[in-house]
C-alpha cells in the first residue's frame, strides 16, 4: 500500500474565541481510490473535519498530511490537487460571473501568479463541464442557473482541477429529487471511471451511494464508528450517535 491520500493523527480543531474543540483527537487514514462517507448529526464537526483536511481551517493539535505532505506547510499547493465542493454554495441571481469563468477559477492556483490561463486550462474547463453534462451552460451567468445546475457547475469546478482527491460537503443539500439523483450518479460515475478518492459528507443517509465502501460516523466532534456501511449503519449504532 502506498502513501495514504489522507492521514490525520490526533487532530483537534478549535474555532477562534471558543474553548470547546469542534473536532477532537481525530485519527483517520484514507487510501487511494476509497469512497468514504462522513455522516453524523448536525453540529458534530463534519464540515470542520473536511475544512481541516484541506487546510482551510487550521488545526490546533495533531498532524494532517495529504499525499504524505503537511497541510499546514503545503496548504496552498495541496489545495490545487483537491476538488472541493463547500457546503450550501448558492450564487444569488445577479452574481456577475459566467459559468466557464467560475470553473476556470479553480485552476488559478496552479496557473501561478502573473501567468495567464493557457489553452490547456480552457480545455480542462470544457472537459469538466462535459463530464457533468453542463457544457451548454458555459456562457450563462452562474446566478441565472437553478440550484441543481449550480451544484453541477461546482462539481465541474472541482473536476477542472483534475484532482487526485474529491471532498464533497453535503452536495445534495437544497436539491430536489431529480437534481439529487443526477448529481449522485455523476459522482458515482466519476469515482468508478477515474478511480478518484472521494470523501463525501452526508446529512441524509438515504443519499449514500452504492459504491461507498466505508462510512465514518461522528458524534460530538469525535469519530464514533468507522467501518463498512452494513456495520456502521446498524440502527442501534445510529440511535446511539443521533440521540
Amino acid at each position: 500500500m502506498g502513501t495514504p491520500v489522507i492521514e490525520l493523527r490526533g487532530v483537534t480543531t478549535i474555532y477562534e474565541g471558543e474553548r470547546i474543540p469542534a473536532i477532537h483527537e481525530i485519527d483517520l487514514v484514507v487510501e487511494r481510490g476509497e469512497f468514504l462517507a462522513l455522516i453524523g448529526p448536525n453540529g458534530v464537526g463534519k464540515t470542520t473535519l473536511l475544512e481541516t483536511i484541506n487546510g482551510l481551517l487550521d488545526h490546533k493539535a495533531g498532524a494532517v498530511r495529504l499525499f504524505g505532505l503537511d497541510v499546514r506547510r503545503e496548504g496552498h499547493r495541496l489545495r490545487r490537487r483537491i476538488g472541493y465542493i463547500p457546503q450550501a454554495v448558492s450564487f444569488p441571481e445577479l452574481t456577475p460571473f459566467l459559468v466557464r469563468d467560475v470553473v476556470l477559477m479553480a485552476r488559478f492556483g496552479r496557473i501561478g501568479l502573473i501567468h495567464r490561463p493557457r489553452a490547456a486550462d480552457y480545455r480542462a474547463v470544457e472537459r469538466a463541464l462535459e463530464l457533468v453534462g453542463s457544457a451548454a451552460l458555459a456562457r450563462r451567468p452562474i446566478g441565472k442557473l437553478s440550484g441543481g445546475q449550480q451544484q453541477k457547475v461546482m462539481l465541474a469546478r472541482a473536476m477542472a482541477k483534475e484532482p487526485e482527491l474529491l471532498l464533497l460537503d453535503e452536495p445534495f443539500s437544497n436539491l430536489d429529487f431529480v437534481a439529487r439523483e443526477e448529481i449522485a450518479s455523476t459522482i458515482v460515475r466519476l469515482h468508478e471511471e477515474l478511480g478518484l478518492t472521494t470523501l463525501i459528507v452526508l446529512h441524509d443517509l438515504k443519499g449514500l451511494p452504492p459504491c461507498c465502501q466505508r462510512v465514518v460516523l461522528m458524534r460530538a466532534g469525535r469519530i464514533f464508528r468507522d467501518g463498512c456501511p452494513d456495520e456502521v449503519l446498524d440502527p442501534l449504532i445510529l440511535a446511539a450517535a443521533y440521540q
Binding site: N54, L56, H76, R77, L78, R79, R80, Y84, P86, L94, T95, P96, F97, L98, D101, V102, M105, A106, R107, F108, G109, R110, I111, L113, I114, R116, P117, P141, K144, K161
Partner: protein, 267 residues
C-alpha cells in the same frame, strides 16, 4: 489662462473618474461601500488637519484614508463589524474632526480651499496633483492587469479563492489600499462629501447591464471618466460646485441604468 485651468481640470476629472470607477467595481462587488464611504470622510478630516497644521493636505488625506483601510479593513473582512456600525461610528467622528480642524485652521475658517475639500474645487489643482492622479491610474491598471485572475477570484468568493490554492489576503488589502489612495487623490477635485458617489455610481451603473465581472471592470472606469467629464462641463455651464455636478451626473446615469436595465425586466 482660463482654457488652461479648464483643460487641466478636465484631465484631472477624467483621471479621478477613471480611478474611482475602476476601484468602485471592486468596492461594490466586495460590499465595501461602507468602508469607502468612511475612507472618503477620513480623507476629508486628514486634509482639514493639513490645512490646520499647514502641512500637505493631500499627504494627510492619504494617511487618514489608509489608516481607516488598515484599521477597518481587517474588521470588515472578518465580519466582526456590521457595515452600518462602521459608518455609524466613524462617519460622525471623521466629519466632526474635519470640521473642528477647519474651525481652527488659520485664515478664514471656511475658506474656499477648505470648502473645496468638502465639495470639490476646479481651481488650484496643481500639475503635481495631476501627475499623482495619472500615476495612480496607471499603477492601478498595471497592478490589476498583472494580477487580474487573482483579483477576479476574490471578487467571486474569498473562500473559493483560497480553495483554488490562492492566497487572497494580499489582494484584498491591495484593493483597500488602492481605494484609500484613490479617495485621497480625488479629494481636492471632487470633494470629501461626494467622492464616494463617483466611486459607487459608475460601478453600480455597470452592474445594471453586465453579467460578466470582467466587462464590469472594463466599463466602470469608462463610465466614471464620462460622468466626471460631463459633470465638470455642467459645473462650468451652470456655475455649480464640481463635486456636486459630477455626483448629480453619475447619479442620473445610475437612475437611467436602473430604468433601462435588462436585468430588471421580467420575462
Amino acid at each position: 489662462m482660463l482654457l488652461g485651468i479648464f483643460s487641466s481640470t478636465l484631465v484631472g476629472a477624467i483621471l479621478a473618474g477613471w480611478s474611482c470607477g475602476l476601484v468602485g467595481a471592486f468596492v461594490v462587488r466586495l460590499n465595501l461601500s461602507s468602508l469607502g464611504f468612511t475612507m472618503s470622510h477620513a480623507a476629508f478630516a486628514g486634509a482639514a488637519l493639513g490645512l490646520l497644521l499647514d502641512w500637505d493636505p493631500l499627504l494627510l488625506a492619504s494617511l487618514f484614508s489608509l489608516a481607516v483601510a488598515g484599521a477597518l479593513g481587517p474588521a470588515a473582512e472578518r465580519a466582526k463589524l456590521e457595515p452600518n456600525v462602521i459608518i455609524g461610528i466613524t462617519f460622525p467622528l471623521t466629519m466632526a474632526l474635519g470640521l473642528i480642524f477647519l474651525r481652527f485652521a488659520p485664515g478664514t475658517a471656511l475658506s474656499s480651499t477648505a470648502l473645496g475639500l468638502l465639495w470639490g474645487s476646479v481651481l488650484g489643482v496643481t500639475e503635481m496633483e495631476l501627475l499623482e492622479l495619472a500615476f495612480l491610474s496607471g499603477a492601478m491598471v498595471v497592478l490589476i492587469a498583472l494580477f487580474f485572475k487573482e483579483f477576479l477570484a476574490i471578487l467571486l468568493d474569498m473562500k473559493l479563492a483560497r480553495e483554488a490554492g490562492l492566497n487572497p489576503r494580499p489582494f484584498y488589502y491591495a484593493i483597500l489600499f488602492l481605494t484609500g489612495m484613490t479617495v485621497a487623490l480625488s479629494l481636492k477635485l471632487i470633494g470629501g462629501l461626494l467622492v464616494f458617489a463617483l466611486m459607487i455610481n459608475p460601478a453600480a451603473t455597470a452592474f445594471q447591464f453586465l453579467h460578466d465581472m470582467k466587462k464590469i471592470i472594463l466599463f466602470s472606469p469608462l463610465i466614471g471618466a464620462g460622468a466626471a467629464a460631463l459633470g465638470l462641463l455642467g459645473s462650468f455651464a451652470f456655475d455649480l460646485p464640481v463635486g456636486s455636478a459630477i455626483a448629480l451626473v453619475s447619479t442620473a446615469g445610475f437612475g437611467l441604468a436602473v430604468a433601462l436595465s435588462p436585468k430588471r425586466r421580467r420575462g
